[in-house]
């Protein structure tokens, strides 16, 4: 069954999603939602982990019916995200006409100060497509983040090439430079990012990534959802060292599933003298607020291993680990 699902996933990304992306948006995204519904019904373990984690971390805000509704939406979003990536073909116009960018003036104002801009987001909705979309709309965008398929030990070299072809390549072509990939031993990462900012360009980063074990000593624990989570505050450190403003950005999918709104905030206030953890906590609070506003967008609900590294796991949701093994997509950091 697991093999069948993997084959279906590969077929979806390699064949179905590119075809659906060429159809009229109303039809393409509707078909993607039906595929999401099928996934919701057939992936019992993952669905159970999702609903359990949703209820544990959102507390009394949702009941079991809400959790099931959100889980269904999560699977639908996951299928739609593949269409978003495929619609980035050529100059990305097919996706750009479905996405309204709000707050672009904050980004333009930040760039007018000629110190670049750091856009912080999370593994939230089509965040990777959103970063590339900013590039497609005329900004020089570079992302700090790992292409996870290159480092997932369980993938063969053929699988790595496959994910590079169907996923990373389509996102990469709208980014100004190759991703700056933080990895233990790569000491030049922050200085590389600073060089990008000095050129008055945009650096994007998803700040909720589970830290690698080698980086645990540098993490800060901040309030997150109904608990506390362990994150790396690198984006804030980079901002402090370069004098670059940090703006938060989240892309929300609308009720019709095809239109989206990319909301860019004003710069996050960072008073001089304030501790790094306190400044980062403000960014994490923005991520928390975005997740509470529309929980199904967050990628990590189904990933017990990632929640555990973040310090958010719950012993009650012991199906979550099995859900991780259910699919290779979780390993890749892809929201499905």
């Amino acid at each position: 069954m697991r093999l069948l699902r993997s084959v279906e996933g590969v077929a979806y990304w390699a064949v179905m999603a590119p075809v659906l992306a060429c159809l009229p948006a109303v039809l393409g995204y509707q078909l993607a939602c039906w595929r999401g519904d099928w996934e919701f019904r057939s992936r019992r373990v993952k669905r159970t982990a999702l609903t359990c984690n949703l209820r544990q971390l959102l507390g009394d805000e949702i009941d079991q019916d809400d959790a099931l509704r959100l889980a269904r939406q999560w699977f639908r979003f996951a299928s739609c995200e593949a269409i978003d990536v495929m619609r980035l073909r050529f100059r990305g116009r097919a996706l750009r006409r479905l996405v309204e960018i709000r707050g672009r003036e904050h980004l333009d104002a930040a760039l007018a100060a000629r110190k670049g801009a750091i856009i912080c987001s999370a593994h939230f909705g089509s965040y990777d497509s959103a970063f590339s979309l900013l590039g497609a709309s005329g900004l020089s965008v570079t992302t700090i983040g790992r292409w996870q398929h290159n480092y997932t030990a369980s993938l063969s070299s053929a699988e790595r090439r496959f994910w590079d072809l169907v996923y990373a390549r389509r996102l990469r072509r709208h980014r100004h430079r190759p991703n700056i990939e933080p990895w233990p031993g790569r000491i030049g990462v922050a200085a590389q990012a600073a060089a990008v900012l000095r050129a008055n360009e945009v650096v994007t980063i998803a700040i909720d990534a589970p830290p690698l074990e080698a980086d645990w000593a540098r993490t800060v624990k901040v309030p997150f959802l109904s608990s506390k989570a362990r994150f790396l505050p690198g984006a804030v450190s980079l901002s402090r060292l370069t004098g670059t403003p940090v703006l938060m950005a989240f892309m929300y999918r609308s009720a019709d599933y095809r239109h989206q709104v990319l909301e860019i905030s004003e710069p996050v206030q960072m008073p001089p003298g304030e501790g790094e953890a306190a400044a980062f906590a403000r960014c994490a609070a923005e991520v928390s607020a975005a997740i509470r506003r529309d929980p199904a967008h967050w990628a990590y609900w189904a990933s017990g291993a990632d929640l555990s590294v973040l310090g958010l796991d719950s012993p009650e949701c012991d199906g979550a680990e099995d859900a991780d093994k259910d699919t290779i997509f979780t390993d890749l950091g892809i929201h499905a």
């Binding site: 000491i187 030049g188 200085a191 590389q192 600073a194 060089a195």
Partner: protein, 87 residues
């Protein structure tokens, strides 16, 4: 130059007092003294203090592994910087 850089690293970057006093031959990378962000902090300091620009291509472990290596790198830069200034 060595003492200026050693002082800065000892004062601003070292987090574990057990490694102090810092020898000019101590490996900053293997000792875990220098990570990506502290290297950036150091680069910002070097650029301000010695009026240079450290390019991306220069961000190599061999240029920043020890205080002596940093000084060698800076000294190797001097003729280039002077040449650029004359031009």
């Amino acid at each position: 130059m060595e003492s200026v850089i050693n002082d800065y690293i000892s004062r601003e970057i070292v987090q574990d007092p057990a490694v102090l006093p810092l020898s000019n031959e101590t490996s900053l990378l293997e000792g875990g003294i220098l990570d990506s962000l502290s290297l950036l902090r150091l680069v910002v300091f070097l650029e301000e203090r010695f009026k240079i620009t450290v390019g991306e291509a220069d961000l190599l472990p061999e240029n920043f592994d020890t205080v002596n290596a940093i000084c060698s790198y800076l000294r190797a830069r001097e003729p280039r910087e002077q040449g650029a200034a004359r031009a």
